[in-house]
Amino acid sequence: FSPITYSDHLSPPSNLSLTRDVCLQYSPPEELNGSYGFEIKEMRKLLDGHNVEERDWLYGLMMQSNLFNRKERGGKIFVSPDYNQTMEQQREVTMKRIWYLLQKGVFKGWLTETGPDAEQKKFALYEVCGIYDYSIIAKLGVHFLLWGNAVKFFGTKRHDDKWLKDTEDYVVKGCLVMTELGHGSNVKGIETVTTYDPRTGEFVINTPCESAQKYWIGEAANYATHAIVISQLNINGTNQGIHVFIAQIRDQDGNICPNIRIADCGHKIGLNGVGNGRIWFDNLRIPRDYLLNSVANVSSDGQYVSAIKNPDQRFGAFLAPLTAGRVTISSSAIYSAKLGLAVAIRYSLSRRAFSAVDNGPEVLLLDYPSHQRRLLPLLAKTTPETNKAIHVVSSGFKAVLTWHNMRTLQECREACGGQSVKTENRVGHLKGDYDVQTTFEGDNNVLMQQVSKALFAEYVSCKKRNKPFKGLGLEHMNSSRPVLPTQLTSSTLRCSQFQKNVFSLRERDLLERYTSEVAQLQGRGESREFSFLLNHQLSEDLSRAFTEKAILQTFLDAEAKIRAGSIKDVLGLVRSMYALICLEEDPSLLRYGYLSRDNVGDVRREVSKLCGELRPHALALVTSFGIPDAFLGPIAFNWVDVNAWSSV
């Protein structure tokens, strides 16, 4: 090393001033943001939809208890699970948290109260639990929404009386036993077999081979005492298809019942607060009245009786109540995305990198157009209302929204740089916890296929009977094909009628193409199923178009209900961002010529414009999510102080 370099190091040149002014200071996002462009409370009521006070009460319950791993960081309180604990410890503490919430009355009425108010309150509290830890709602979902609802819907009064109160009080701990090692999405193909023994009046459940072992059964690894078992039912040598039974798998002391074997699925990439089990039935005998018999029954002498003659329809009836789970998955995906975005956007409003001019101050991340482009469209996609979806729509919503969540979490993780690699900053860990959403409760790709199959069936049926389209949002197909303007100005692009027209045109055209392609293949002798498979790409495009249009409609419905003012204006911006980013990201528009190359360029430019216009509202929007500071990561606040030596 040259002597000059050394001497510089030992006695710095006098013109170097090492004053505090050189040091980075943290400024909270609120400081530079100025006043909010709309009333946060009002926007929150809109986004949460209902039960805001109950949600805040539950947030408070979790914040004030040491069970929820309360930590002080930089003068603020944070609560988030300690993922550094072992799998066994995480399972134990998650169970303790649920018992705490039970004692506080959080689950009161979840099964015994009926009516839309009770349902809404339940879902609100459920969503808030998920913001703390997805493992909690994985457990609650299995116990209340799967076991509890199965008993409620499949059973009759006899079953209700016995099980519902005990379930609500966690005297019994339920689980749903459906998936097998060899069969997940294709429930009809499961291999567990149940027969009936008329001599003893018992059903006999059996696992005939290793591929038939039940797998991924939430709660079964440690705690579940009772199970809803989905099995083939064989009566007098005839397979009557899928049926639903109750079986006790553990006694009140936690010992596994005889003729049942349980193994652990082991450590997972996330969700280690819930233990998943594998179950083998070795000719387990259960009483005859353990068949949940609202759809079918077996008499004491072994005669099979069902009100629904068609086994496929019966199968549909069995699965119908379970689709309620889809809606909660969609909403928890949305809340997870909200969490990620709240952290990433708050961070991007306090973190700076690179100066635009020499010796100038470094620029805030969210002032970069590229950073806006990464986060703000995702923010727009995270605001729709998801709790009103009906079945077909719920499948599409589940697929689109869970994929959206995973994409949002990844983007947010990257947008926070190295800091989001720290578990305590929440964003990164959410990826591991929520990834399973894309494949459970129906693999997303399979679900999307089901959406287009349903649309196909509806289309074919209406055309055959020469009826107008009614339902599934297809009514637009009764009118003439929308004509899109060739010139797309900014005001056209932001016009709700234009947006509806493009989405309708896309859906209509893809549906017609799909049905025509399938019909062509069938004409050549291919089976319908195989024709569907060969057209899987069109099917995916169609399902996505259908779902995005349904989501756009939820935006429009919400907007219509609000009176003119700042909230309506901002929602309009968000809705336009949603519509245009969907169009920008979909190759179908160019591929099938709904828009010209110039048009697509206009769309892209409009998205950038909208980014600039949404930028001043970003902080207000994420604040409207209503997620308390304690549930975000420390980088959403004073990340300098949190890392100070004095905080070590």
């Binding site: 909270p28 400081e31 914040m63």
Partner: protein, 363 residues
């Protein structure tokens, strides 16, 4: 509003000692702007630190149809509370005596609070038809478990040891040592709070809680169990259920305090604390200002006037609350207190720049 004789000011190099002669605090503002001031010590003359705001004067204004004068008092008070909560300089309050209501507002938001064996703390507003204000929805909600709800709803009195245990006080120094402590603190010549902190840590003691203290584990468990209830009714039910198992003095006193308080006050206080738990100190004060204006306007309930009459003026201790029963205070009536006040602007908090980390954390 205040005259200098109500606050005695001593200068000891870069330390200012403010002694409150009457429960008015506004002079404190001017000294904190002075850059040569490094540290502020606040204490009270006589047997009180500060017994609170002069609510009788406010009630007088309301009775004359002048609720806006009262509003001015509260807005000045809450502004001061905000400035204190967000100071860059350390404020040390020496709570050698009664500290209640507004007195808590000018001390708890400061960085250091010194309790003594003479300290008596309470937030007694619900008995007066008011609600714990002065940013209490911020600091009470941040006490451990649901102790904040207990203190705010029942107006329970805490001594110095209890204040230290729950975090309302940061240090405990016997009154005999206060003169020496003040002398040592007066020599501090830096805005860095660690200097004051080191001195205080040297003086502080860890007194035992008295035997019948509410801060013992068994009582705290009951407090957490009952005061975590979603509504005031649920809290009452839970307490009565506990009392049916074991009716000790503490639980009977607690139930009694709730029964004597204004039902309207109980409900708005609970909602205030619950909302405050999720808000920064500035938002809490803005919300409390709206609430106190609604209280003074008396559109839903006139309990504030009635409470001050019964407790402070006529002193018959028999307030006629309206509504009288908890059930008659409906949710829609409670919500009204949280809405924007017609004809009255929201509290405009001063912009604060270059806040220290400890203040930023409170926003």
């Amino acid at each position: 509003m205040a005259s200098h004789s109500q606050v005695l000011v001593e200068e000891k190099s870069s330390v200012r000692i403010l002694t409150l002669n009457r429960p008015k605090q506004l002079n404190a503002l001017s000294f904190h702007m002075d850059p040569s001031v490094k540290l502020v010590i606040l204490k009270g003359q006589g047997r009180a630190f500060c017994a609170g705001g002069d609510v009788s004067a406010v009630v007088h204004d309301i009775r004359q149809g002048n609720w806006r004068l009262g509003a001015n008092f509260f807005s000045d008070e809450y502004m001061l509370n905000y400035v204190m909560a967000t100071y860059s300089k350390a404020q040390i309050s020496i709570l050698d005596g009664i500290v209640m209501g507004g007195g808590a507002g000018v001390s708890v938001h400061g960085r250091f609070r010194i309790a003594t064996e003479n300290t008596v703390f309470a937030m007694p507003e619900t008995a007066l038809g008011l609600f714990p204000d002065v940013g209490a929805s911020y600091f009470l909600s941040r006490l451990p478990g649901f102790f904040g709800e207990y203190v705010g709803l029942t107006g329970a009195r805490l001594d110095g040891a209890e204040m230290l245990a729950c975090g309302l006080a940061t240090h405990f120094v016997p009154s005999a040592r206060l003169t020496a402590l003040e002398a040592d603190l007066s020599r501090v010549d830096s805005t860095d709070p660690t200097f004051a902190s080191t001195i205080l840590d040297g003086y502080t003691q860890h007194p035992h809680l008295k035997q019948q203290s509410a801060y013992h584990r068994q009582v705290l468990d009951v407090i957490d169990k009952c005061f975590s209830g979603r509504t005031v009714e649920e809290i009452m039910c839970a307490l009565e259920r506990e009392a049916s198992h074991e009716a000790d003095d503490w639980i009977l006193a607690t139930i009694g305090a709730l029964k004597k308080a204004s039902p309207a006050s109980l409900k708005i206080s609970l909602k205030s604390i619950r909302e405050g738990r999720l808000q920064g100190v500035g938002q809490c004060l803005i919300r409390e200002y709206r609430m106190v204006c609604h209280v003074m306007k008396g559109e839903i309930s006139n309990d504030f006037v009635e409470g001050c009459r019964a407790i402070l003026i006529d002193k018959d201790k028999k307030p006629k609350w309206e509504p009288w029963r908890l059930e008659d205070m409906k949710d829609s009536m409670v919500e009204h207190y949280f809405k924007r006040v017609e004809g009255c602007e929201d509290l405009k908090l001063p912009a604060r720049k270059n806040l220290p980390a400890s203040a930023i954390a409170k926003l």
